[in-house]
Point group: C2
Chain length 137, copies 2
DNA sequence: TCTTGACCTCAAGTGAACTTGAAGTAGCAA
DNA sequence: TTGCTACTTCAAGTTCACTTGAGGTCAAGA
């Protein structure tokens, strides 16, 4: 199996070497060996880094993602857990969609005050419902 | 205009008083006066807090959100800026949707290794493209 | 009037996710 | 063999978003 030098992986993935070392320290990724002093990585680590970057976007902490990946860099979790996380993503996607709609509405609605616009208020209702009950990062 | 005591706003919004004070310190929200020592808030602050909570979910920093709101608690930004942020949200929504699809796929796909499954690899391509070029929080 | 409780200020502490700096080292090209 | 460069370790520093703690204050109810 072809191994990647840490510098090469950093260039390919856009993740700085210091961060790769940090991720390894906390057990999020693994290096396969050294060339001299330099860490060498398996190719699937690149896939894993891509998933980690998305996971961060989705609000997973690094601790949450530790242990989520198998040897091939793909998620290795029980089915139910995967579906549960997918469901949480669905909720987040819904929220973001409404925030987007609200922003676009505010941009385009000619009403002088949005608080009097029924469409805006409808978009805002869910926000008031969800605010605070949301998991924080 | 009816004013809310900080405790009441905290109960309604789910945002602790310490956080409300902190938000005021950094200029993210405004209180309208005091009842004795206690901060009093305008009702629209509740809407604003809901939007802040969603904004955090969307990856905006508190500093970015400072100054985004007008007196009525609704976003007060130039049209182009609002559309730009909506566009960024669209991109984020697309990414999260694909992450969700990838998770569901991994949960349900019977292939012994996902690296050999064309559907998974297709889902992963975008991730490799986007990783690293993404704004960090 | 006195007590209670929820607020007040200000400074310091916390946890997550990294980054930076100092001092050292290994491989490769000249 | 000598440099150069990109890595190495380890500890400490940084930023963000809060929270906590100590010591103080005010309004309302008993």
């Amino acid at each position: 199996m072809k191994l990647l030098d840490i510098g090469e992986l950093a260039r390919q993935s856009g993740v700085p070497p210091s961060t790769l070392r940090y991720y390894e320290d906390i057990g999020l990724i693994r290096s396969e060996g050294r060339h001299g002093l330099r860490r060498q990585y398996d190719a699937p680590v690149a896939t894993q880094l891509a998933l980690i970057s998305l996971g961060k976007l989705a609000g997973f902490s690094l601790a949450e993602m530790r242990g989520m990946f198998g040897a091939d860099g793909t998620p290795q979790l029980p089915r139910t857990e995967l579906h549960l996380r997918a469901d949480r993503l669905d909720a987040q996607i819904r929220d973001l969609t409404r925030l987007r709609d609200a922003l676009r509405h505010v941009a385009d609605c000619p009403a002088e005050t949005h608080m009097d616009c029924p469409k805006f208020m409808r978009l805002m209702q869910f926000a008031t419902r969800t605010a605070g009950s949301r998991r924080q990062r």
